[in-house]
Assembly symmetry: C2
Homo-oligomer: 531 residues x 2
Amino acid sequence: MPGLLSSLNLHHHGLNMGRSSLTSLFRTSRLAVQSSSSPSQINHNTNVSTTTQEKPTLTIDNLNPNIKVMEYVVRGPVVIRAGEIEKELEKGVRKPFTEVIKANIGDCHAMGQVPITFTRQVLALVTCLKLLEDPYFSDDAKMRAKLILAGCRGSSVGSYTDSPGIEIIRKHVAEYIKRRDGIPADWQNIVISAGASDAIKNLLKLFICDVNGKKPGVMVPIPQYPLYSASLAEFNMHQIGYFLDESRNWGLDIAELNRSIQEARKVSNPRAIVVINPGNPTGQVFTRENIEEIIKFAHKEGLFIFADEVYQDNVYPEGSKFFSIKKVLMEMGAPYSNMELASFMSCSKGYMGECGLRGGYVEVLNMEPKVKEMYLKAISAMLCPTVLGQACLDTIMYPPQPGEPSYNNFLKEKNEVLESLKLRAKMVADAFNSMKGFSCNTVQGAMYAFPSMKLPPKAIEEAKKQNKAPDTFYAFELLEKTGISIVPGSGFGQKPGTYHFRTTILPQPEKLKEMLKKFAEFHKKFLQEWS
Amino acid sequence: MPGLLSSLNLHHHGLNMGRSSLTSLFRTSRLAVQSSSSPSQINHNTNVSTTTQEKPTLTIDNLNPNIKVMEYVVRGPVVIRAGEIEKELEKGVRKPFTEVIKANIGDCHAMGQVPITFTRQVLALVTCLKLLEDPYFSDDAKMRAKLILAGCRGSSVGSYTDSPGIEIIRKHVAEYIKRRDGIPADWQNIVISAGASDAIKNLLKLFICDVNGKKPGVMVPIPQYPLYSASLAEFNMHQIGYFLDESRNWGLDIAELNRSIQEARKVSNPRAIVVINPGNPTGQVFTRENIEEIIKFAHKEGLFIFADEVYQDNVYPEGSKFFSIKKVLMEMGAPYSNMELASFMSCSKGYMGECGLRGGYVEVLNMEPKVKEMYLKAISAMLCPTVLGQACLDTIMYPPQPGEPSYNNFLKEKNEVLESLKLRAKMVADAFNSMKGFSCNTVQGAMYAFPSMKLPPKAIEEAKKQNKAPDTFYAFELLEKTGISIVPGSGFGQKPGTYHFRTTILPQPEKLKEMLKKFAEFHKKFLQEWS
């Protein structure tokens, strides 16, 4: 059974893959961490007070060490190189391809998805009040815009809102949750945020508190979405990796949870567990039974649950169904229904894909009132989440209802996106399963496939020579030869000795077909070259 | 000469003013800090692993201690009470007033300021592409919308942008700075952010790094904008307060800078200095000579300069002029022109006042390349600032030009706002100077007055009985009797034994006149009651 440390080492190994300048930086930082038990404390003899203009005040040696070790591979070295290649193409540099296909990030509109009309109408109306008289806009969009404006001070989206967001929108979120789960939600438990990431970081940082000399620990799935590893590194908290079981379609095994927490207790105080459902990057959708097991485990171990449920609308095959952790936990009754839970949702995914508008929310359940007061105080210094992101969230939480003028079109647009994603989810998994040495689980949900691949020993050797993780070497080769940009598995974490990558399922069907064809051709040649 | 500790004590004293529940929380937290030299390390015997459902996982005892001590008084207890009073009024509770006047926060549109038409047109156009065919919208707004959309992936504001923002907007920012200063700016030094606060926090956190057992120290003016004290508390950095000289219209005295840094070196490593110009809450505009002195001081001491210049458009009386620190530093030549500087700007203030849209930027000068790489990596995990906030910023950085269809109206709207603010700045200072025991400096810039007041000894005694700072007691009395919401000076910091408050100059002229009249009546009665 691979241990915690090997998972961490592997994780660090992922850092070793970038361009040489990045590599040397990361090496420095790793040494800094290893030389001291507390990365926030570095001892050296440089006296910062004697700085002259020749030596900058802020250097790599006295920079926040947590920032040095953090990484966010979704925008890491492969993706940075993809951006450089785009610039080279613009300048007319000849390549074996004419465009970069960005399959590295869940950026729906960038890949051609069309926004939901109702959402954009409401946003235009709250921004430019003159349009409230324009017959092009539907009456329900106008009503909604007026409702949102009535919740804004001075009837302007240019005013600050309360830090947890506009009251009427928080109420719409609570009603959405009630419809989804069949269980009431209290609008005062809803905190609107600039995307889910903002809310996740604000809640994680509440746990920064060493007790009896041990760091706080947070359990995260491996593979995981790198926001978690990046935030835990920034906050100097201990990441406790629990492996998802690839052989059971990335299911969650309680024995593995027990193994990982027991190991982690030696060096940390486990305080919380992150559950990503539907899974990113792994695409699984947990069964209700699996969720019950997780809840019982978290209860037994006294863990606060972070439910990353931003892909709750993205569930594809027959038989797969999304259950929110809140619904299951409430239906299990006491003592489980008294557990602390934070459930995150975003405007960036689902069928709307409004990544750029930065809208999201967290529902916080059973939080100690004094803690909640501190949490709300902490977010108040950042004033408020973007009001137009809040307005976007409103249109998703409270979409047009049957009988309203925008209803039919809304439903058509929503279903078209989700049906197409369902198709593409299958296309991608099928394509990889037909390639030699690849194995890809069913993409039950979310927007990604995370296939495993067997790499020839010679390729692995070459990767080592280049000081790259083998899957990173593969991703760079793919990028340089085809223009396809994917994210190597080492950035998400994977079992030692296995190699993966994450690709989105987001290119439009024709483009996706072309991408998968190019991918298969590349892979065949790669195997020939390195066998 | 009042020392650093007395300034800190006073600052803490400000915490002691809230409702009883808040008070007791803050007490707990203060004890926690005092009992340990490192607030991020708390020793107690509770074993977090034995948590049961009766005891929450996250409690006030194991909560991040830095979150407990931080405060953000602009949204603090007086303002929270103001919100409660608004709710009570809605429910029909009888009060000696019919509405709450929120003079506590620089929230322009909330106080009736009208948005700039060009900005809102562009925002509607990029949101709802159908409007590009609508004759109501001016051609230059349409051109601008198309330019912004061309910078968005998939031509949608719903796509993620690069983490530092859209390239064309960063270039417009650089051109704006060049026009402002007469000195070139490199667009690659511009990082767009969700308001200035976001950028300030992201840069401050780079400095978290204890050296030789001492915390990093950051010099901030006293009185200061509480985002700084809140962020430094959250990051467990040392706040080095330097007093502004109220008797010289809140000018900056180099002897005081020297005193404060010398004292601070005993317990911290001073790394940076924050300069707020025009001043918040103090409203002064520094002379060029004063800025030169600050730069020389920062150079001598090896400090990174944080130039909070978000009020650069808000300068009122004849003879006052805004000089950016960058302009002065570059014109001073080497070695000063090689110094590290971060200059912050926002869409929330100026003549546009778009607080809710969360747009802003920082220009980072002379940052060590390896450090800059780490900085850009650190912000990438949060994906990107809101695209509509970026689009708003674009319209301010690159407003309509002479000859373009929107130019005349833009200029008229801009000048109306600034002229009216100039009038109100004078109205407020004059009004307070005519009240007994008040003294108010000229409001040269920004959006606030920070008058000092002499309080009767009996009132001070009563405040102590109620466990409140005297100025907080005054603010609560004012709120309960008139509905006027201001922020007590203790939240910004002030010389021991002096009492102030911050009020905005933002209520529209008629409303402001009414507010100042009610204020004067209240003050007269207050003096009678407590003499």
